[in-house]
Symmetry: C2
Subunit: 428 residues, 2 copies
């Protein structure tokens, strides 16, 4: 890939910013029409997209890309149809732009409200999955933003083919194709240049491995919304319904171990450990999952259970492995979560109102759950419609981010000539 | 001043973070009692605070600090009483922490709500005014946060005396004094160390000159909320009530020219320019204010009016000077604001519903006003209670920031054992 000079990159970003003014004022109908046209265009260009994808897959084979990475890179007619359907679904979502929060009259006489408005230009930095190109474009566009897309080198042909289809649709609807700008560069120095353009960009969202995210966070001069990892806990309280607790454990650990809202550590109240742990152990073993325990756990389950180390309590296994600790009560469980948690998703199984209330109030995480699986920590499941990313920093958004997180609010004031101070007497 | 090693600085910040867990769970009553105790302590230690302030003022005289800077640095019994009253006012505000946004039942059966929670640890980096020490401490504390305060070297003794009073009050109420941590350092390298502590800090708010703010923004690894300047416009539309427009102009430009929500540029529709500009010119001249105009303005007012340069349209004068441009309509006014505005505060004077609607929708600024003075762009006037700062970036907060902007929301989920996927069949 030929690299582009910074000046050229900046020209692209400036054109995207210019387009953002147009997108911000489009009517909901116009945005929905364009989104449906983008969906149709993806399907109409299926052959070209698959051909481009094949070139990326050939390259992946040459470069010895991992099987998991290659799977994420692969497009099929079904996956393209899902990308198109995702755009149609975004068209069906309520438009957050223009929503006015309650307007109040102030003592001065002015009326003050807050109007939801787009952020402006959002840069997405991502890897592998070409569906992010259309998913992110659709969500940013619906929220009235322009988007700069910078996908990974392994997916460069696929991303270009997808973007070409989106551009054709945008132009067909009279829109500025620069509203969806794919940056034709694959090297990290160019990312660095991009994420320093704080005059033109309003937000950067990196999605990918921890290395990419740390790189973006370290070099960005633009606000970054990110999350590194999910070290999620299930605490089985002394009052827990142990059948419920077991369901939550198996769903949280086994239904999809490779995702960030999977459980990594099980905390068990000492009063129910002797009852619960053998059942949990049997179930996990029956599903080929590994359990690593502290001394109390191993006293109950036997020395054949591997010892859980400090590193195990810090780990996001992304695999069917779970660390276990027996704790002497809610305080110890809260301390463990405060020490090892990643502010992502934390679950308690309890029948005690008091314990549930303390868990909800005191656990510092973006999603706290009582008697429900950690796997519900997801934009769709929580009712956000779709998810553009997840934030474990607390600024702007905390937790799964939907359309609303791609907007902000401005103050709108109506008056009848009110002034704040006595106006100096007019001379005339 | 002896500087402190980074390790010692980090110890202080870690202790502050530890204290933040305590502050986050305090009841509203406990927080209000502590705030009132802090207010009482400021008044009880008036003599010690004034004495410390005198040492700073002596230093300021030696170092030849400007008159404006020295005024900002000066404490008096009245100013200390105002600081105490501000803390009592914060005690009277509603507590944002714990507020639950509407809870909805999802198709899966879980109930999802959003709870307002503190951010954690906020670092304030500021200059000169010792009142920021107690104002920021009070607002952060009420919102359930701990705060790291780093004031300027010119106010170091005053800030220490104020902090000592606050600590005494906190301890008297059984609180951890580390919840309000004053960093005993005055050099910029230590600021750099501080704002890289992204493991411990959740937000940095710089308040001061543009140099300080750029320095913080450039070096911070923690999210920064900031605003550089306010280049605020008044557009007098062709349908404007010219008496109202004149009131807005004089209030906006003259009531306090040195603040960020003062007007800097007047845009006048060509249809009313010949009527409005001579009146505006006469009034401004009567108050010793200077007007700088474009060619059309000078055709109406005469060549004695200085020419407005490109630099004038970009300037935040912070003085009784205003740049003027005659525009041929709303579109040209919107373009001018998009080009030269600072996304701060923008005013239209109009009697046209259509023009007002377009102004409100299309102007990209944190506060947009119709027939009301730019000087209302202020946390207190807009109904936020108090103002900890103002943001002209769109992430997290846009515009004046009150208590709510010092909090975030987490998702709270209640269930009855719901799992996301069919749980693998239990072995038992």
């Amino acid at each position: 890939m030929a690299e582009i000079p910074t000046a050229t990159l900046e020209d692209l970003v400036v054109a995207c910013k210019r387009a953002s003014r147009q997108v911000a004022t489009l009517s909901t109908d116009a945005k929905n029409r364009a989104l449906r046209a983008m969906a149709d265009a993806l399907e109409a260009h299926e052959a070209a997209i698959l051909e481009a994808n094949q070139r990326d897959l050939d390259g992946a084979a040459e470069r010895g890309l991992s099987e998991a990475m290659t799977d994420r890179l692969t497009l099929t007619p079904e996956r393209i149809a899902r990308m198109a359907d995702a755009l149609r679904e975004v068209a069906s979502f309520a438009d957050p732009v223009g929503e006015m929060a309650e307007t109040r009259r102030r003592p001065s006489g002015i009326e003050v409200g807050r109007m939801r408005v787009p952020l402006g230009v959002i840069a997405m930095i991502y890897e592998a999955r070409p569906n992010v190109t259309s998913d992110a474009a659709g969500l940013c566009f619906k929220a009235g933003n322009a988007v700069v897309l910078r996908g990974g080198s392994e997916a460069v042909h696929s991303n270009r083919a997808v973007a070409a289809a989106l551009h054709e649709a945008l132009e067909g609807e009279g829109g500025d194709p620069a509203a969806v700008t794919l940056v034709p560069t694959t090297d990290r120095e160019a990312i660095k240049d991009l994420i320093r353009m704080s005059e033109h960009l309003d937000l950067v969202i990196p999605r990918g491995g921890e290395g990419l995210i740390r790189f973006v966070d370290e070099h960005s001069r633009v606000p970054v919304i990110k999350h590194y990892k999910g070290v999620c806990h299930l605490f089985v309280d002394e009052t827990a319904d142990l059948d419920v607790a077991l369901d939550l454990l198996l769903d949280g650990k086994l239904s999809r171990p490779g995702v960030c809202n999977a459980l990594e550590t099980l905390l068990v109240h000492e009063a129910v450990a002797a009852d619960f742990l053998p059942r949990a152990h049997r179930e996990l073993a029956a599903h080929d999952a590994e359990l690593r325990g502290d001394a109390a756990t191993r006293r109950i389950l036997g020395e054949s259970v591997p010892e859980a180390t400090e590193a195990d309590y810090e780990a996001e296994f992304l695999a069917p492995i779970i660390a276990v600790r027996v704790v002497d009560g809610l305080d110890a469980a809260l301390d463990h979560v405060a020490t090892y948690g990643s502010q992502h998703t934390e679950v308690i199984a309890t029948e005690s109102v008091a314990a549930a209330r303390r868990w909800v109030r005191e656990v510092d995480a973006s999603v706290v759950l009582v008697n429900a699986s950690s796997r519900f920590s997801d934009g769709g499941e929580l009712g956000l419609g779709a998810e553009i990313g997840i934030s474990t920093t607390k600024l702007h958004a905390f937790g799964p981010m939907g359309l609303e997180a791609l907007t902000t609010q401005k103050f709108v004031v109506h008056g009848a000539g009110e002034t704040r101070h006595a106006v100096p007497p007019r001379a005339s």
